[in-house]
Each structure stands twice: as C-alpha cells, then as structure tokens.
Symmetry: C2
C-alpha cells in the first residue's frame, strides 16, 4: 500500500486558502515528502500528518516556493523528537541550499544527509525506490518517480511438491536459493510470476519533454503541475516553462498513467476545477488537486486491476 | 498618526490558527515590519497589507520563528514591483543570515541594505526613529522602539505680532531662522512648546532586565511577548528566557507605557485571553493580542491625552 497526499496545490506564492504544492508519500511507515515551500509544516499539521517519520525530502528544484519551508519542517521534526538521519535529495546545488537552511535552523538533533542527485540516478528510502529525471524549466528541475516493488507470490503447493522443509521456505521467499543435500532449489521454482508494484510520480515546473513519458510509464498516480488552465495562456506557459492543464493531461496519456492529479496552480487561478475539461480532453482519469487530497494505492489483485483508487 | 498591526501572535511554530509573531508599523506611508517568521507573507495578505511600501524589516534575533519568512516576504515585495532599497536591521550576525536568505530568493529587483546594529544604536526610516536595546535571551535579541516625533505648533498670532511676512513662515516652521533687515527671528520665537510624539515598542524573547523600563519609558504602545501565562510555568520561563503574562504587565507598568499588547504565545497556550487577569494585576491597559489586531495611534490634543486608542 502506498499512501499519497497533497499538502498544498499552489504555485509561486502561498495563499490564505491554498498552500504551496507539496506531496507526502507513505509506505510501510516510511514517509517521503516532495517539495517544501513556505507553510508546508502548517499544511502538514492541518491535514493531520506528523513529522517524526519523514525519512526523505525530495526537492524538485531550488525556487523558494519549493524550498523555503525546509527550516520549519526540519525544526518541526526536531520538536517531534526525530533522531534518525534524514535524507534530503535534489539536483546539483543542494549542498549550498542545505548550508543556508542550517543558518536558519542552527544545529538539529538528527543528521541531514544531503544527496545531490545526478540526472537518472535512483536510490532507496526504506521500501521505496526513488528515481529522477530532468525536466525543462528555467533552472534544473527534477521529476521524481517513487516505486514500491512487490515480491512475487510464494507457492506453498510447489514447495511441498519439491519436498522443501517448511523451515527453509522463508529463505526462498526472500529470493535466496536453498540447498537440500546435492539438490539446489532456486527461488523461481517456488515463486509465481513477477507482480506489478505500485508507483507514483511528481512532475513540476517543466515544459513537456520527449523523455518524460517513458520515465513515467505505467505509473499508478501521476501528480503533475498545471500552472495555467486557459489555452489562451499557452504563450505564457512556454515563456515561464510551465504546463497547461491540457499538456498535463497529454503527458498522463503518453505515459499510460492510471490516474492524474493536477497541482501547482497559478495564484491567479481562482477556481482550478472550472477548467477540468481542458485536461480531460487528453486524459479521462484526472482529478483537479486540492489541499488535503489523499488516496491509498493498493496492489492489484493478482491478474486484476487495482483494488482501490481515489 | 502611527498605524500598528499584529500580523501574528504565535511563538516557536506557526499554527493553523495562529501566525508567528510579527508587527507592522506605518507612518506617512512608510512601513516597518518587525520580525518575519514562516507564513508572515500569508498573514500580511490575510490582513490586507501590501508589500511594496515596506521600507525596513527589523529582526529581533535569529531564531527561525522570527526569520524564516524573510525569503517569502522579499519575493512578495519583488512581485509587488518594489524597486527602492530595503533596510533589514538586526543584531550582529545579520550578514550571514542575509546571505542565506539570498540562496533562497536569488537575485532581487531591489537593493537589500543589511544593517547590523550595535546595542543602543538608532537610525531613521522615513519619519520614524528606530532604536534598539539588548534583552536577555538564549542568544542576542533586541527590543525595538519606534518613535514618530512631532514638530512644535506654529503660532501665527506671534508671527504677526513680530511682523513676519507670511511667505517666510514656512522657513520658521521648518526650524530655520529668518532674517528681516538687521533682525533675526529664531524658530522658537514663533513655535509653541515641544509636543509629545508617538511611539511603539516591540519586546520579544527576553527575561525582564533592569534597563528595559528606561528604554521603553512612556511608550504609547508596548507590544510585548508573553510566552507563558500560568504562574506555575515560572521556572520554564526562566529556563527558556521568556516572559510570563504577569512579567509583561510589570514591564509595561515600570516603563509607564500607555497600553500593552501581549503576543508570542506558546503553541501550548490554546486560549491566551483566559489569562488576561495575570497581566492586568500589574497593568490595567492590557490587550491580549490576536492575529490582525490593529490600532491607529494619534497625536495628543495639545495639553490632553491621546485622541484615539485601541
């Protein structure tokens, strides 16, 4: 299961009724926060999220509307008695930002591991595999993809057929071979076919690129910026390096995503929901994001579609 | 006239229903902001304040709950098309903070003049005279006093008696002497006695000190932290270097302030108003501050008390 929530859905500046875009993902009690603008700690409190279990903070890029809430979130984690190290990952330039964050926070009671990611890099945060790809913005900006893999099913009837003692099943389940006298049993002998995992992606502050659809392919949930709604603002979107609603829809379609959540709306966009058809023309399963929107992605039943979706 | 508003009244962390302590003062269209924690730009928007006219930002000290909103406020000023230089003043250490702020904001379209104040220093921001004094906190923290002086009244009947042509009155009014043939008329000859100006002070993150009452003497409005309400928390107040409600009241009394506004409440203090009597025992004219509280201080009628007060 992969819980996903939008803490905010605003771009550029925090508004009294719309926090800056930020997402929280949780799997097996491990939490990943993506982007952290001014007020993210307040939004997290409002929506009932705690701070102690945040294991990684991913930053798309270093514009203040995605970073200026870091001192506050880190201090909130300190107040929540976080002691385990925290990973903060982002494009090159991260260490300079983390040094600046430290001027605001002073010494924290946990270690901050600043991981400057190279384009295409990936790393593990608990059960989650996190990978990044460069978008096309006014400065280097990463799209992130978070994958929760799913182990193949263990087939007890096959294990019994092969005469494997029950106390060795666990070894095979974990993917290791087992030796029985002169015979070696491989995990594949007792495991079912590969199973679809769960995945969510976060794409912000970018124009469409050729490579994004492949990077996002088959993602369960695509959280995607949609700064401008009105097609009349197409030129502005190109100039500011952002997406239109329709372009976000097209990206979800090209990636074969299962669902699309729009976020990172222009402060001038008072009623994003009004424009939903703009995205729906390209992709049916679209939700116009709002602060506090959340879902739990569940693994497909074997051979079936997903069990629950927002 | 001196407009004063509290943008927030919280200490330590911003809460969904209480912004971090910050005050805005305005005289003759010049605006001074005191302290700027995370969310101050949102609080300013909520309470209808603009960003373009902020001429000076005073920082009491460099704990994040007083500084982390700086990148956001400066970027909001940029969006509001501020082009004139802005003064940011605070205790020594300011330049390091401003460098960190710059990592978040990037290049701004106006000059930031970082003024590291020495204890007891004062400077002018438009018509306002700003002075500072060190409190007693866990790190150097300034109390600020803002004075709007008032010119003595011009006495036209005296000017006429002395035979001064009307076209020379303005010179005398502005404090310059006038020569009429061989006779020199001094401004004092046609001006009334000195008149009381207006003043407000902002005291935060401190224990009581011996010198604060004199620094704050006769202030029209004392905005004072009152982190803890319950006298049972006296030990905690000493340890954390903050004030109790009662101590804030005692400071206002010792300073002979006209009014006291309490602010910077502990996040654990759900209903500060409940504790008003704690402060009132020491000082009658106390208001338990709340986000958006504002007043306009007006000059006294000559020989009378102030015309209007919150």
């Amino acid at each position: 299961m992969l819980d996903v929530a939008l803490l905010g859905t605003g771009g550029m500046m925090p508004l009294p009724n719309r926090w800056l875009a930020s997402a929280m993902l949780r799997a097996e009690g491990r939490v990943v926060l993506i982007d952290c603008g001014e007020g993210t700690q307040i939004a997290a409190r409002l929506h009932g999220f705690g701070f102690r279990d945040i294991d990684a903070i991913l930053l798309s890029h270093y514009h203040a509307d995605h970073t200026a809430g870091l001192p506050g979130v880190l201090l909130a984690m300190a107040l929540a008695e976080r002691h385990e190290p925290v990973v903060i990952a982002g494009p090159p330039g991260l260490r300079r930002l983390i040094a600046a964050v430290g001027v605001f926070t002073g010494r924290l009671p946990f270690e901050v591991n600043a991981v400057e990611l190279q384009e295409g890099a990936s790393f593990e945060a608990g059960p989650l595999r996190i990978s990044c790809q460069l978008g096309d913005h006014t400065l280097p900006c990463f799209a992130y993809r978070v994958d929760l893999t799913r182990a193949p099913r263990f087939l007890p009837e096959r294990a019994r057929e092969l005469g494997i003692p029950v106390d060795r099943w666990k070894t095979l389940q974990s993917g290791e071979p087992v030796q029985l006298g002169s015979r070696v049993v491989a995990p594949e002998d007792v495991l079912g076919p590969p199973r679809r995992g769960l995945s969510a992606a976060y794409v912000t502050d970018t124009r469409p690129t050729e490579r994004l659809p492949a990077f996002l392919s088959d993602v369960d949930l695509l959280i995607c910026e949609a700064m401008f709604a009105d097609p009349a603002q197409a030129e502005r979107a190109v100039e500011r390096k952002h997406l239109l609603f329709r372009e976000a829809g097209a990206l979800a379609a090209a990636a074969n995503a299962r669902r699309l959540w729009l976020t990172h709306f222009s402060p001038a966009l008072a009623d994003p929901l009004h424009w939903i058809e703009e995205a729906r023309r390209e992709f049916a399963a679209v939700t116009v994001g709002y602060d506090g929107l959340r879902t739990t992605l569940a693994f497909d039943e074997d051979g079936h579609g997903p069990r629950s979706e927002q």
